[in-house]
């Protein structure tokens, strides 16, 4: 078997690190560290995009790398850190399932993700088709993070990590979506986070905490 060119090897390494960071997020309970992990994931994504842009010579990937850098590495982590300081939420409570259990589920999720991505990878013509499975795994693990957390802030980090996975998936399957769409998605994420900032303050004003266990009045037992 022929050895892969160095840039593809590097891309595969980056993809593997991306998945590793997802697992780290799954087990991390300190919210400040969770945000840092998210920023690192964004940085890896940015490097991978740059590498791919250089490899394929497509200009719009450079733009989207710049977008990732600005939004996911710098602005959103800054915003989240600021919110954490202003609101004073530092720790998430014990997750609904203990950490060892969550990790086991995470492993099963990865196997499932690779199974799901198999037919897509088989059809893809991009050099990065092997990473599609990893992208699906990142999406599903982020989903798992959101399900198992109680604090609003951790759920939001899970949401953003899912967005990273989607972005990585689009990149490895088709070298990114058209520019208009990427800009639109970035705008939506940005607005979503700003809305969320307002929203968090409203929640805290009402409940003096960001714990979602207060959110149980609207269940259907009435």
């Amino acid at each position: 078997m022929k050895a892969l060119p160095w840039d593809l090897q590097l891309l595969n390494t980056l993809a593997a690190l991306l998945l590793l960071l997802s697992f780290a997020m799954l087990s991390q309970r300190r919210i400040v560290s969770l945000v840092n992990l998210l920023a690192m994931q964004g940085a890896l994504l940015c490097i991978a995009t740059l590498l791919l842009a250089w490899r394929t010579g497509s200009h719009h990937l450079y733009v989207s790398a710049a977008l990732t850098l600005g939004l996911k590495v710098i602005f959103l982590p800054w915003l989240l850190h600021r919110l954490i300081r202003r609101l004073g939420v530092y720790w998430d409570t014990e997750p609904l399932l203990n950490i060892a259990g969550t990790m086991m589920v995470g492993v099963l999720v990865v196997i499932f993700a690779f199974g799901l991505a198999q037919p897509i990878s088989a059809l893809a013509s991009t050099a990065t088709r092997n990473s599609i499975g990893i992208a699906v795994a990142v999406i599903l693990i982020a989903f798992l993070t959101m399900i198992t957390r109680r604090k609003a802030m951790s759920q939001v980090v899970g949401f953003l990590s899912m967005e990273n996975g989607l972005f990585f998936g689009a990149m490895s399957a088709t070298y990114g979506m058209p520019m208009v769409v990427e800009l639109g998605v970035a705008l939506d994420v940005l607005v979503a986070m700003l809305v969320l900032g307002v929203f968090f303050f409203q929640i805290r004003e009402q409940f003096d905490s960001l714990d979602l266990k207060h959110f149980e009045s609207l269940k259907e037992e009435q």
């Binding site: 799901l116 059809l123 979503a192 409940f207």
Partner: protein, 485 residues
């Protein structure tokens, strides 16, 4: 030109009202902007009827028989809701439930919400459609939490996070679709995301990928349609926000999300050459109808009651689109129209009833007919209409759907009939005790705007007796389009 006004007015309005939305004249301006939007939609419609489909802005926007009727419906309900919201929000402000700042937010977001829905309906770009759908959620999150009560914050959070996750699935589906299309249409420009281009080559798209994409798209947009079991956010968001927002969420947003699902279904069915997408929609639809009918019994809040009724009707529509064929598609389109008109008129009536009683709990609302006969009869007639009583239009569409189901999917007919019966008993009993009996209501500082209620019900009544020929042609053209011809 009409098209620029159609999208430009609400966008400009959102910006202007973002600064001046708290002034005394703001509710009037809101009505004026909605009126201009509606007139532009009418002009656009007459142009489409006269000259056929329209592609504008380098094919980024596309208007055909299917979406133009939804554009008009959206603009119309947007206008009547703004009329209803004028006295409603004044009363809320006088009761001290909202401040001038909140009113500014409300008016600005109302216009923005209309703009995002119109963009989602008219865009030809599947990616842009996703962006607009997400923007529609974001513009209404802060409206659901407008009253800042604990329950409304919880509802807003659920709405934000569930719809956010749902719509991420739809993004993945869109990526997969782009992936399949790029092989045939090339990755230059946005051609591989344009619906018209995709529709032209749908037979060549890779079926395995499109099948997978449809699962994600249906789950994603289905969350916004409120299909069970992804409906959890819907009753909360409808019940806790201000009533005009409940009316547009239920009457319009659900339709727009359904529109997105159907657009995707046309492509996927063309690629798969099988009825799998249809069967999936029928499954989700039936589940929603049955689940909603039984949940109706457990409701005590009047707005939640009608929110569950919306889930039920969206289920019926999904089922009808799932069956496919010209008659079922025709009936589904008709049902979308009459449900939207009837449900928003019910929310108008319910909103004023709740203001009069000072509570949304059905136990506290009594004897509307003695305090305000017009309001009482409005609510009663709206309820009879939504329950599918003849001669209202809902009866016509449900009858068509049931008879088609009897021919094509006989096993589903008893389930549908049972659910409709259960829903009838649940809703009718509650509404009867709210309308008749001793009264608990008080006088309000502003007379309610009841014209929209009767305008909507009048239209629904007319559609039950007689569908104007041009409207029927139009529905038929759209039904053929959805049938993939």
């Amino acid at each position: 030109m009409e098209f620029v006004i159609l999208l430009g007015t609400p966008l400009l309005g959102a910006l202007t009202l973002g600064f001046f939305g708290g002034r005394r004249w703001a509710p009037g301006a809101n009505v004026g902007l909605s009126l201009v939007t509606f007139l532009a939609a009418c002009a656009l419609t007459s142009r489409i009827v006269a000259h056929g489909n329209l592609l504008v802005a380098r094919e980024q926007f596309f208007i055909d028989a299917f979406n133009v009727f939804l554009v008009t419906l959206t603009a119309f309900v947007g206008l009547t809701t703004s009329l209803f919201s004028r006295p409603y929000m004044r009363i809320e402000a006088e009761h001290g439930r909202i401040s001038a700042r909140q009113l500014r937010l409300y008016h600005s977001m109302y216009q923005l919400f209309m703009a995002t829905m119109l963009i989602a309906l008219t865009t030809n770009n599947m990616g842009l459609m996703w962006v607009a759908m997400e923007a529609a959620t974001l513009s209404t999150v802060l409206l659901v939490t407008l009253y800042r009560t604990p329950a409304s914050l919880e509802a807003g959070w659920k709405y934000f996070i569930l719809c956010g996750v749902g719509i991420s699935q739809a993004l993945f589906g869109t990526i997969l679709m782009y992936f399949a299309a790029e092989k045939i249409l090339g990755s230059e420009g946005v051609s591989a995301l344009l619906w018209t281009h995709l529709n032209a080559v749908k037979g060549q798209l890779e079926p395995a990928v499109l099948g997978l994409a449809f699962v994600f798209l249906l789950v994603g947009y289905g969350t916004k349609v409120g299909l069970a079991p992804l409906h959890n956010w819907l009753p909360d968001a409808h019940a806790e926000g201000p009533t005009p927002i409940s009316a547009v969420l239920s009457g319009l947003l659900l339709n727009v999300a359904m529109y997105a699902v159907v657009r995707c279904k046309v492509l996927v069915e063309g690629s798969l050459q099988s009825s799998l997408p249809g069967r999936m929609m029928m499954g989700f639809g039936l589940l929603s109808v049955v689940l909603a009918a039984f949940f109706l019994w457990r409701q005590r809040d009047v707005k939640r009651l009608f929110a569950y009724s919306s889930i039920e009707h969206m289920g019926i529509i999904a089922f009808a689109f799932g069956m496919g064929g010209p008659v079922a598609n025709f009936a589904a389109l008709l049902h979308m129209t009459v449900h939207s008109l009837t449900k928003s008129s019910i929310f108008f009536a319910v909103g004023h009833a709740a203001q009069k009683a000072g509570s949304q709990l059905m136990d506290n609302i009594r004897g509307l007919i003695t305090v305000n006969p017009t309001l009482g009869w409005g609510l009663m007639m709206g309820t009879l209409a939504i329950l599918g009583m003849p001669p209202f239009g809902v009866f016509a569409s449900e009858f068509l759907i049931l008879t088609t189901a009897m021919k094509q999917q006989p096993w589903a007919t008893p389930i549908l009939l049972l659910a409709l019966g259960v829903a009838f008993a649940a809703i009718f009993g509650r509404v009867q005790s709210m309308v008749f009996g001793d009264t608990s209501a008080k006088r309000l500082p502003h007379p309610p705007a009841l014209v929209p209620v009767f305008a909507h019900l009048g239209l629904v009544l007319m559609l039950g007796f007689f569908i104007p020929p041009y409207l029927a042609d139009w529905y038929r053209a759209a039904a053929r389009l959805i049938g993939g011809e």
